[in-house]
Symmetry: C2
Amino acid sequence: MKILIIGGGGMVGQKLAHNLARTGKLNNQAIKEITLADAFAPPALSTPASFEISLVTADITNADIASSLISNKPDVIFHLAAVVSGEAEANFEKGYSVNLDGMRNILEAIRLTGNGYKPRLVFTSSVAVYGGPYPDVIDDDFQLQPRTSYGIQKAMSELLLNDYSRRGFVDGVGLRLPTICVRPGKPNKAASGLFSNILREPLVGIEAVLPASKSATNIFASPRSAVGFLLNAATLDTAPLGDRRSMMMPGVWGTVGDEIDALRRVAGDKIVALIKHEPDPAVEKMLSNWNFPNFSTDRAKALGFRCESTLDEIIQVHIDDELGGKIPGLNT
Amino acid sequence: MKILIIGGGGMVGQKLAHNLARTGKLNNQAIKEITLADAFAPPALSTPASFEISLVTADITNADIASSLISNKPDVIFHLAAVVSGEAEANFEKGYSVNLDGMRNILEAIRLTGNGYKPRLVFTSSVAVYGGPYPDVIDDDFQLQPRTSYGIQKAMSELLLNDYSRRGFVDGVGLRLPTICVRPGKPNKAASGLFSNILREPLVGIEAVLPASKSATNIFASPRSAVGFLLNAATLDTAPLGDRRSMMMPGVWGTVGDEIDALRRVAGDKIVALIKHEPDPAVEKMLSNWNFPNFSTDRAKALGFRCESTLDEIIQVHIDDELGGKIPGLNT
């Protein structure tokens, strides 16, 4: 079992690699090799592994480089690399280059390998493929009319994944990820970053700016759940997917106000007091495109995708996985 | 008013050009110049025009050539060029190259012109963007999950048109055309060609093979209606479209059996007897992806798009526009 993680230097890619290094198996098969590829040099794993882990700096917007990543015919490919939403909106060309051309280069590299090579390709799409106006509940048949360049690029990539899978070139699974929360580390350029910032920073005693209204909604899953989604997508039977290879992952729906209430229950008033409300019209405009209702996610649930049930649980996962079970902000 | 018709050598492009040459105006503005561009040398128009008509052979899969088409900054661009459904399925690379890269090259050429250049771009999408299973009626919010490469390429192009319009680079309108019927001339490689063949050939006294079941369904509009759609799309106020620039055009729904019944009413038993039923499993498989129910087309109707009401009318339009009002097959 050879595994390639494109975007292996990112937060989710690293957590996935740590998980695979720890278990040494995928789908009950021993892992022989993992390649972590990213546009920058991926960090080496601190988790010891019983197999080789290669770190590769690779620009997938270059077709030859994308092809070189596939040359050892990995059995499972996770394609997690993306220019995030805020950056794709700010830098039109870079967004299309990485998010669309990068995906196409990977699919073409696989197709042109031929000789029966048909890897499982797990692609991280996004809840951003949806655009309003919304019904009360978004079901699995809701149209994809994204209203951001990032969402457009992800929706186009999903269509490619469907066609390459239908034609038998690849065995694709696309995951429309909820907003991953609490996202550890520094804020990135994703417009959805604020939903993590207002939890992560106060938990360690740092003030966080809330640039949006408390009524802003989103759908959330923890990084731990994201890794679970990827592992399930890598191993599930794809026959039930038919020609529609992507689906919305389960998540916990809530408003910013719900997040703050959960933070109060888990960590108390002192932590919540570190959130400073400073509305930013540009952020609010972008979020208004995403003012998501709840999602049914029936297809994903039937295929065994699982996540947390409450925002409290999501915050607790962060405390357990990132903060050693403690809330440092209580001691500052 | 300068007009560019990409795909200007094709059947619909030629009819559109004839119409514009005859009226000399678009949106009450005098036409100064029309360029007909196609992958092959477009035929010169027989209709005299009061303005210059340029004929250009241009391969839009080449970004520089696509750019050269835009260099004189046409006010209205009709992008009708496509590799049709059957060919896009048979030739994977050609389909993506023309239908996706060609569209993107045109959009990029427009965007990179800059300096406030923002032409109206009328793009012919297709009913093939839909894929089953279908509800009883497909409304304007029905999801796009095409199950052919052609449909995927058209759906991706629609997403690009939305994004380039939203970002202010172009003023796009996408028309999901019904099956154009009766299509004059020789059969092309579109899988939908059979719906025209079984009408066109018998009307001139030639046998036609019906390779599909009489229960196969489709939605139809005449070439004359197609030209009307394009003219309306070139002149309508796009503000009501918001960020969703494409919509299903009205059409007449019917089965192959309905077509044959209409042919009998319009032309009689002798003509109908020229249809020979020889089922072809490959054709039936492709058609099963398109087993369309009816469409509501509310958005299009509200914006003034109109077509025939019955299959009888559609056949009569063919007799009037292509056969001089007579049915030659009755005299053979």
